[in-house]
Each structure stands twice: as C-alpha cells, then as structure tokens.
C-alpha cells in the first residue's frame, strides 16, 4: 500500500517523531511504500538543518534524511508553519532578507493544500501528534 505520515510533534519534546519513524520502517519492512511524510505545527522542527544532538543520542533529522535517501520518501514541510518557526530554505531566506538556510535540504517547503492532496493520493494517512 501507499502510506503517508503526518507528523505534528517536534523532535526531542514529544514521542511523535520517534513513533512515526519506527512506523515508517515497519511499514517498509512489510512491503509497503511510505511515499510522503508531511510535517506541520511544531513537527516542522524535524527539518532543522542546524540540529546537533549529542552523538550518543538518536539524530532525528539525519534519520528522516536517511529515509528519504534510502526509500525515496518525500519530506514535505508546511511553509507557513516553517516560516513562523524560523525554518527557511535559501529562497525564503533571501526573500525575507536573512542570511543562511535553516531548512535541511532533504526537506521541501510546500503548501498546506499538499496535505489535502496526500489524503487523496495515498491509501493510508497516519497522524502522529504530540
């Protein structure tokens, strides 16, 4: 089946991101495709390029990037939720007169309408909330 996950919880403050990652790997192990993960609300912090947790702790941002690299999972971030929280790609940073990009390049900024599209194009959409 074609799965999508919605992550509403920020990393290291709630279990949502951990649960979603473990679900993604379990679904793939059962032969499903996890085509899209959509990050919304505080979940957008999962896309923080400058996240640098201690080396002996799980690196959630890297784990999402691995999922994207290994299984082709699209990592989509609500642009409005991201900009409010200081997560900007190079284009948005320039548009707002800021230097540097704080969004991890494996993630893409997209509109909330994309979430509605995901609900119609994927066979299952599972929400992981804080």
């Amino acid at each position: 089946m074609r799965y999508a996950l919605l992550v509403l919880g920020g990393p290291y403050s709630h279990q949502a991101a951990h649960s979603a990652l473990r679900f993604a790997h379990a679904a793939i192990a059962r032969g499903h495709r996890v085509d899209t993960v959509f990050f919304y609300h505080d979940g957008v912090h999962n896309a923080a390029h400058f996240a640098a947790p201690p080396q002996d702790e799980p690196h959630l941002v890297d784990a999402w990037c691995d999922l994207q690299r290994t299984h082709g999972t699209a990592l989509q971030v609500c642009v409005a939720a991201a900009l409010r929280r200081g997560l900007l790609d190079a284009r948005e940073a320039e548009r707002h007169g800021k230097s540097g990009a704080s969004l991890e390049p494996s993630f893409e900024l997209t509109g909330l309408g994309q979430l509605l599209d995901i609900g119609q194009t994927h066979e299952r959409l599972i929400t992981f909330a804080p």
Binding site: F23, R30, A129
Partner: protein
C-alpha cells in the same frame, strides 16, 4: 472499520471518553505512547466493551516498564502488528 490511535493516559487526559463516544461497533482502539498506561489492569476499566478490539504497542509498554502489567483483555502488538492493523482498517483517526 476505523482504527483509532490514542496516545494519552486515561489518568492525564479525558480524551479517551471522546474516543469511546466516537467509536463504531467494529472499530479498533490502538494505545500508543503514553496511551499504553490505559492497558494496565488498574486502568483498563476506562475502556469497557472493547474485548478483542483493544490493542497496545509492545515497544511503548516495554519502554515504560509495563510489559508485565498489561491486562489480559488487551492484545499486545509490536510495530509490525500496528502496521497490519492499519492495513485492515479503512482509515485511522488519531486522538491526542
């Protein structure tokens, strides 16, 4: 048939009451994260009438030291079993 996901303990949130009111007769309830506190024998009375339709995630029980305290009426599933339940359900509803 819907699969409801609950990640709140019945002792810290009353959202489980909303879940019970919303559940259809065939629906299943999957307890994850802090929701698994509701699977222990002293708490499971908060989920009456769900025999055979109440599930708890093994990894979340174990990480909270509750693996041996889960009530016999609750079906323990691992992450693979969780995915299987989402296959069977038409869709899932998350409560938090």
């Amino acid at each position: 048939m819907l699969l409801h996901l609950l990640n709140r303990a019945p002792s810290s949130s009353s959202v489980h009451q909303d879940v019970l009111r919303a559940m259809g007769e065939e629906d299943g309830l999957m307890l994850i994260e802090d929701g698994v506190f509701g699977a222990v024998s002293a708490q499971v009375q908060h989920f009456p009438g769900l025999e055979g339709r109440l599930f708890a995630l093994r990894e979340d029980l174990e990480s909270r030291g509750l693996a041996g305290r889960c009530d016999a009426s609750v079906t323990i599933v691992d992450m693979d079993g969780f995915v299987a339940l989402t296959e069977e359900a038409q869709r899932t509803v998350s409560w938090f």
